[in-house]
């Protein structure tokens, strides 16, 4: 994919800033609900969870699908519980990706245009592992993010923060034999959204990951340590367990920080345990056709 080409078209056609640059400073929509209202809801759900934990409930490790403080989820979560199923053959494999699919340069989000993007240059690296700690090698990792000012190159993001002509905010890579990935990018800014009045997302990078099995497919978000917006954010707080939430927060790593160049963050991703536990080669013959 030629990122430059994409970004150029979008900027021309659809991504022009709102005609009135200050329009966004007016109160947003009819979002009369305040942060205090939302924080009270979040607090009540969290308190109930912590009481349940004390009474012996198992810790929750995923976000709640039904989490009303994120208003858009109200009509978009299944009301029936997920149906337990044994994975079938196809679900115990994942699509194969390789260097044919992804150019090595796609992991550097700071070189996709003619100039350097604005902001704090960072390196984000880590490993993709399965539930037994085994590396997920040769798999696709995709990321997308806002620029340093908190603005996405997306037509639906029209809030009055500047686009950066030198930053698209999309990257990809293929994990190494040890499950490792590494991106060079800039630290995204926090950005406002219209869930309620004065709603701001903590800075984050969206991650899309594949495992060895399609059942391990996840999309998630990586956050930065110490963000003051964590307690206020319905999306982060949809994971009600503190230990589970912490798993989305990268660690600052001074050894990864590159002198005169970029700050380093480490973030490992563990995919769900469901995976091929039998040897596929015994059962089906060698299905491998790597590249």
């Amino acid at each position: 994919m030629l990122l430059d080409e994409n970004a150029g078209h979008h900027q021309d056609d659809e991504l022009v800033p709102a005609a009135e640059p200050h329009a966004g400073h007016a109160p947003l929509d009819a979002a009369a609900e305040t942060q205090a209202d939302l924080s009270a809801e979040i607090q009540a759900i969290g308190d109930a969870y912590r009481r349940a934990l004390k009474d012996g409930a198992a810790p929750e490790i995923q976000p709640r699908l039904d989490f009303a403080p994120y208003r858009s989820s109200i009509l978009r979560h299944p009301t029936k519980s997920l149906h337990h199923a044994d994975p079938e053959t196809i679900e115990l494999y994942s699509p194969a990706f390789g260097h044919q699919d992804v150019h090595a340069l796609e992991s550097d989000l700071t070189i996709q245009h003619n100039g350097e993007p604005q902001g704090e240059r960072i390196i984000v690296q880590g490993r993709v592992l399965d539930g037994d700690g085994r590396p997920v090698a040769g798999q696709l990792v995709e990321i997308w993010q806002a620029n340093a000012a908190g603005r996405y190159i997306h037509k639906r993001d029209q809030h009055p923060a500047p686009l950066d002509p030198n930053f698209t905010g999309v990257g990809r890579c293929i994990t190494g034999p040890d499950g490792s990935y590494r991106f060079t990018t800039i630290k995204p800014g926090a950005y406002p959204w219209k869930n309620h009045l004065n709603a701001w997302r903590p800075a984050h990078i969206h991650f899309s990951l594949f495992g060895t099995d399609f059942t391990q497919r996840i999309v998630t978000q990586m956050y930065f340590p110490g963000d003051q917006l964590f307690p206020l954010d319905p999306i982060y707080q949809s994971i009600v367990d503190q230990d589970a939430r912490d798993r989305l927060v990268a660690t600052y790593d001074h050894d990864l920080t590159s002198p005169e160049w970029a700050l380093g963050y480490n973030w490992d991703i563990v995919l769900s345990g469901s995976k091929r536990t039998w040897t596929e080669n015994e059962a089906f013959g060698d299905a491998g056709d790597e590249e």
Binding site: P63, H77, T79, D101, R156, F214, A283, F284, D289, E290
Partner: protein, 193 residues
């Protein structure tokens, strides 16, 4: 080795549209090529309204039931069937894939055969974590009746996983995140293997 706890998922959010879609992402086969069919449907919310900001992925065997492990999904050459595709819905909630009818895969050792299906992962703004489901072909009542998943569901719910065959040979399958005829979504964790 001790089990590691999985990293939680999070919503795909509203701004995936410039990042996840790519050229020919929904064309597992070139449209119009021999054996290709159209798979289409609409994604609805709990109010029965189509939602404009969902993105679906499908993963399936080829028409013979072989699990394909070929690279090239992101840079399609027009000839290689990789078994995987991605489609963002349009403004009216409609998604479209060009693919093949999946064949029956070899059953897992010691397990009954599954009826042919397409595996689906669903992402949307407002959906906190991805959901998994399946699209079964409507033909072969016997295979459907014997399928381990379908036979474990009420008839009413079971029908949400079975596509309709269109006059042109294609498949139509709608996805309902909530409410009447809510699609059956799957949980593979803790399932016996």
């Amino acid at each position: 080795m001790s089990k590691l706890t999985p990293t939680p998922g999070q919503t795909v959010g509203p701004f995936f549209g410039y990042a996840l879609p790519f050229d020919k992402d929904n064309e597992l086969l070139a449209p119009g090529s021999a054996g290709s069919i159209r798979l289409q449907g609409t994604v609805y919310d709990g109010a029965g309204e189509p939602i404009p900001d969902a993105i679906l992925e499908i993963w399936q065997p080829d028409s013979e039931g072989n699990v394909v492990q070929r690279t090239g999904s992101l840079v399609r050459d027009g000839y290689t069937f990789t078994g995987w595709g991605r489609a963002a819905v349009g403004n009216t909630g409609v998604f479209t894939f060009t693919t093949v009818n999946p064949g029956p895969t070899e059953p897992l050792p010691g397990k009954p055969a599954a009826a042919p299906f397409i595996s689906v992962a669903v992402f949307a703004r407002g959906l906190m974590n991805r959901l998994f489901t399946r699209i079964y072909l409507p033909e072969n009542e016997e295979a459907l009746a014997a399928d381990p998943l379908l036979s474990s569901l009420d008839p009413e719910r079971r029908s949400t996983l079975i596509a309709r065959r269109d006059a042109d040979g294609g498949l139509t399958w709608d996805l309902r995140l909530q409410g009447e005829n809510e699609t059956v979504f799957l949980d593979f964790e803790g399932a016996s293997q």
